[in-house]
């Protein structure tokens, strides 16, 4: 599978790899939202964590860990880069198509970007739930291959 230069760059030098402690620690921290999407038997699992500043409501830090192909790693790496500094509401607007465009992903790799979008949403929902807010509604369809 030939990869574009941006995918290779994120794969070689992934930004923001990590998390905010163990699963237990993250669970008990109200500032942290964790999104875990995918499944090992599908060959892709993405964990994306956000840390929200309680005063500003902005995402002050974001981290990812991805078990997946180069495009999945690049999509999650880029997503963390983009949402850092955004408000939670802004980050919720992130669309997989933006990742596809920036990384020049081929059609077979679109689902890798969908996974990253889903991971951001899941992290935001986890954060909202911890803070007594309802889930964001699913209000659009993903751009799919073909």
């Amino acid at each position: 599978m030939p990869y574009g230069p941006k995918v290779i760059d994120h794969y070689e030098n992934p930004r923001n790899v990590g998390n905010f402690g163990t699963q237990e620690q993250m669970k008990s921290d109200k500032r942290v939202g964790v999104g875990l999407v995918g499944a090992p038997e599908c060959g892709d699992v993405m964990q994306l964590c956000i840390k929200v500043n309680e005063q500003t409501g902005k995402i002050e830090d974001a981290k990812f860990k991805t078990f997946g192909c180069g495009s999945a790693i690049a999509s999650s790496s880029l997503a963390t880069e983009w949402i850092k500094g955004m408000s939670v509401e802004e980050a919720a607007e992130l669309r997989n198509t933006q990742l596809v465009q920036e990384l020049s992903l081929p059609p077979v790799k679109i689902h890798c970007s969908v996974l990253a979008e889903d991971a951001v949403k899941a992290a935001i929902n986890d954060y909202r739930k911890k803070n007594g807010l309802p889930d964001m509604a699913e209000d659009h369809d993903h751009a799919k291959a073909g």
């Binding site: 998390n19 699963q23 875990l36 599908c42 060959g43 180069g70 689902h111």
Partner: protein
């Protein structure tokens, strides 16, 4: 000395041609280009002589007579001819009926065996696909249990192309002999690497391919036993009646000369090569396993070819892994199912779970693999897996003692 990158560790897929083989072939392109079927001039005679010489070289490597060697375009054709050729010749009922006869094979055979068997199944033959145990080795016991009164053919590969595991060929052959059942083996990965003797090993039909033993692509052979029993085949390709009518078509003389030369070289050098490669392979596996936890070498540890190593790495994904080992040309178990890449049916066939089947590498060494290349491979595999594990949420969970099967995964 600087290594040429990527280093080649995919010798089970194909091998480079030995320069001595190329040299032997060259005159047959331009000077002795004749058709072995031309009886009236020296060009034809030279080609015929060359084919005869090559037949002798192949026969010597297999321990059979010259007349028992048929030239084909490779192992795929040899397998098709052996399996369908026997089925149609020994069928118990004509086409269009069921109960035409029973065939025994195994789920982890090469597609060039499985697909002909499946075709025959559709045409009214019964096929039993033996499910091998976790170590991948097919034994005579398993074959015995699968046999029926109407079994006409057993086809079990000598060594598996993905795992390198070696089946109990001699014992399976003895069993078949005792029952009067024809025994075919796809020996593509075995011949030229390990000593072969179709008499002692009780083989009736054997497929091989030149490009796996440092010969050219697109040429191979089928051994067909002529005595005790005399195996009959129905030809699949009809025409000029070459190869005693079993395989029509003008001889690929350059390829045949190359195959013969490759067999001659293998005869002289395989023992030494096998010893050297076994050491390198042990070094490779030990080096990787010493530095990485949660890895498994797939297939039986002892009953394995000296040059094929198949390793699964827990908590890393196949395609990411291939990127991490970009300077090693090798094969992978495959990647994410979402990209509709299925994990290897061979690894699944021996019970390797989907996750590990996705993240495995087959590293296969060859005649020219050096110790420096093996050291390089160890280093790159270890660094690559470590890098991916730093990024892997699954490895974190594993280290935190979380049972991955207890996690609620969001399937998609």
């Amino acid at each position: 000395m600087a290594l040429k990158l990527p280093i080649y560790m995919d010798n089970a897929a194909t091998t480079p041609c030995d320069p001595r083989v190329v040299e032997a072939m060259l005159p047959y392109f331009t000077e002795m280009f004749g058709n072995a079927g031309s009886r009236n001039h020296s060009y034809g005679w030279a080609a015929e002589t060359a084919a005869d010489t090559a037949r002798g070289q192949v026969a010597k490597l297999l321990g059979c007579t010259d007349k028992e060697v048929l030239f084909t375009s490779g192992a795929t054709e040899s397998n098709n001819l052996a399996i369908k050729g026997v089925a149609y010749m020994y069928q118990k009922a004509p086409a269009g009926q069921s109960g035409r006869g029973h065939i025994v094979t195994c789920t982890i055979e090469h597609k060039a065996v499985l697909d002909p068997c499946k075709r025959l199944q559709k045409e009214g033959f019964d096929v039993t696909f033996i499910e091998p145990p976790a170590d991948g080795v097919v034994t005579a016991e398993m074959v015995k249990a699968a046999m029926r009164a109407d079994t006409i053919l057993v086809t079990i590969m000598w060594a598996n192309n993905e795992l390198g595991t070696i089946n109990q060929v001699r014992e399976i052959g003895a069993l078949c002999k005792e029952r009067g059942v024809i025994f075919h083996t796809d020996a593509t990965q075995w011949v030229g690497k390990m000593p072969t003797n179709v008499e002692q090993d009780n083989v009736d039909l054997l497929s091989l391919s030149a490009h796996k033993l440092f010969g050219p692509k697109g040429v191979g052979a089928l051994y067909v036993r002529r005595h005790r029993p005399r195996v009959r085949l129905q030809a699949l390709q009809e025409g000029g009646g070459q190869e005693r009518g079993f395989r029509s078509g003008t001889h690929n003389i350059t390829g045949i000369v190359g195959l013969g030369k490759a067999c001659e070289i293998a005869m002289a050098e395989m023992e030494r090569d096998a010893l050297r490669l076994a050491k390198l392979k042990s070094k490779l596996e030990a080096g990787v396993l010493a530095q990485l936890d949660s890895c498994v070498v797939n297939g039986n540890a002892e009953k394995r070819l000296p040059h094929i190593s198949n390793i699964s790495f827990g908590f890393v994904e196949g395609e990411g892994l291939m990127m991490a080992v970009k300077d090693i040309a090798c094969s992978s178990g495959s990647a994410c199912t979402s990209a509709s890449l299925e994990p290897s049916y061979v690894l699944k066939g021996i019970g390797v779970g989907d996750e590990l089947a996705h993240s495995s590498l087959r590293l296969s060494l060859g005649k020219w693999t050096t110790e420096a290349e093996v050291d390089f491979a160890i280093e790159q595999v270890v660094q690559g897996v470590k890098k991916l594990r730093v990024m892997s949420p699954l490895y974190d969970m594993h280290k935190e003692g979380i049972d991955l099967s207890s996690v609620q995964w969001a399937h998609h």
